[in-house]
Amino acid sequence: MSMIEFNNVEKYYGKFHALKNINLKIDQGEVVTIIGPSGSGKSTLLRCINGLETVTSGQLLINGYDLADKKTDMNKTRKNVGMVFQHFNLYANKTVMQNITLGPQVVLKQSKAQSEEEAHKLLELVGLNEKANSFPDQLSGGQQQRIAIARSLAMKPKALLFDEPTSALDPEMIGDVLNVMKTVAEQGMTMVVVTHEMGFAQEVGDRIVFMADGSILEDHSDVAGFFKQPNDERARVFLSKVIKHM
């Protein structure tokens, strides 16, 4: 059974057709990167996976549960799938420690002591143990994003979604965040990463998906091969533009 499975998924925003006949299977432990031009539906795809958006038709199975089924408990599904956002979205009224422990305490009913102990391990992992008592607005963008990753990991999710996690960062911060993501990937986390970081896609990704206009046009396990020779014309144009900027 796949961890995440799209079967003929369609998504409309009103009249606008945002996802067109999406078929995608992601297995446990896989790291899939998604690339594509702006407006192609990458964020929409991720947001459907953790229920921030609902699909219009088709089947979207997470761990075997159909998200379109009214009997599926959305909150339970969200518990299993974490999301890291472009703009970090740390809780502005909470300290770093509280950001990480809120979910475990409120949702997983962990004790304060236990959740804080685990939070310290996660802070260690992202290299920010000394920031436990800071507020988000006292941190740099790169630090905030690493905390956001730690916050997601604290829920012990089965999969983590990343929506352009480094796009809002200054260049010198990007490496730190990518390194953390690489470590998480090496620990066997299932990851779906929307990114423009082609280096990361090649080095860490097991698979690459190219989207345009709401459709998946390419889906390859041979990431390096895809970069050398994409089949689709639009992928070729997209890559030439992105690579020029690298």
Partner: protein
């Protein structure tokens, strides 16, 4: 100076303070009621519940755009004709103020919640929290901080606007001052001065209380 000494003789001061007491009474009761109703209406409008939020929004927008004086006239003179219930001046004022201020607060509270970045809700939901857990832990605490200054200004207006009820002869501060200088026009300036001082003290105390609350919340 003799005039001031005469104007501020104890009977007059006592009479002013009695008026002040009514002003404070009307204000405090109206603040309590309108805060509760305003919070409920503001939330209902924010939550975009089919029809309900629209109706609430419609009512709020109408009331916000009426003069308070018209509402006071309506509760005092109009209601007896419409539903046959006559309220005394005190309750007619309290009801009118509550209706008006609830609408104003509903809008302040709704905008305060809307001013919280929508990414906060998304992050908390994808973190596994339910809608109400997110509201309680993340959205409302941030919204309340944003709301405190406009809510305090609104309450300060409320205190001052109680003086409108002087027109339906509510024995509040403004009315009592008028009674005093009505008997001796020389007392007019001393009375105006006394009014300015008394309204200032009440409103200033309100903003001090707000600052205290704000600081308490920041520490939390």
């Amino acid at each position: 100076m003799d005039i001031f000494a005469q104007a501020y003789q104890w009977v007059n001061l006592k009479y002013l303070l009695e008026g002040l007491w009514v002003t404070v009474e009307v204000s405090v009761i109206s603040i309590l009621f309108s805060f509760i109703i305003g919070a409920i209406f503001g939330l209902l409008r924010y939550m975009k519940i089919k029809y309900l939020s629209m109706i609430v929004g419609f009512i709020v927008d109408i009331i916000r755009n009426l003069p308070l004086l018209l509402i006071i006239f309506f509760t005092y003179f109009g209601l007896p004709n419409v539903i046959g219930v006559r309220f005394n001046t005190l309750w007619a004022t309290i009801i009118a103020m509550t209706v008006f201020e609830s609408a104003m607060l509903a809008e302040i509270i709704r905008s305060g919640i809307m001013a919280v970045d929508s990414g906060q809700m998304e992050a908390a939901r994808s973190n596994g929290l339910t809608y109400w857990q997110t509201m309680y832990h993340i959205i409302l605490p941030q919204a309340v901080k944003k709301m405190i200054p406009p809510i305090v200004s609104q309450f300060i207006s409320l205190v001052k606007d109680t003086s409108l009820a002087t027109i339906i002869v509510l024995p509040e501060l403004m009315f009592h001052a008028q009674v005093i200088y009505g008997q001796n026009t020389n007392f007019m300036i001393p009375m105006f001065l006394a009014l300015a001082v008394l309204y200032f003290i009440v409103c200033y105390l309100l903003s001090v209380l707000a600052k205290f609350l704000d600081r308490r919340l920041s520490k939390a």
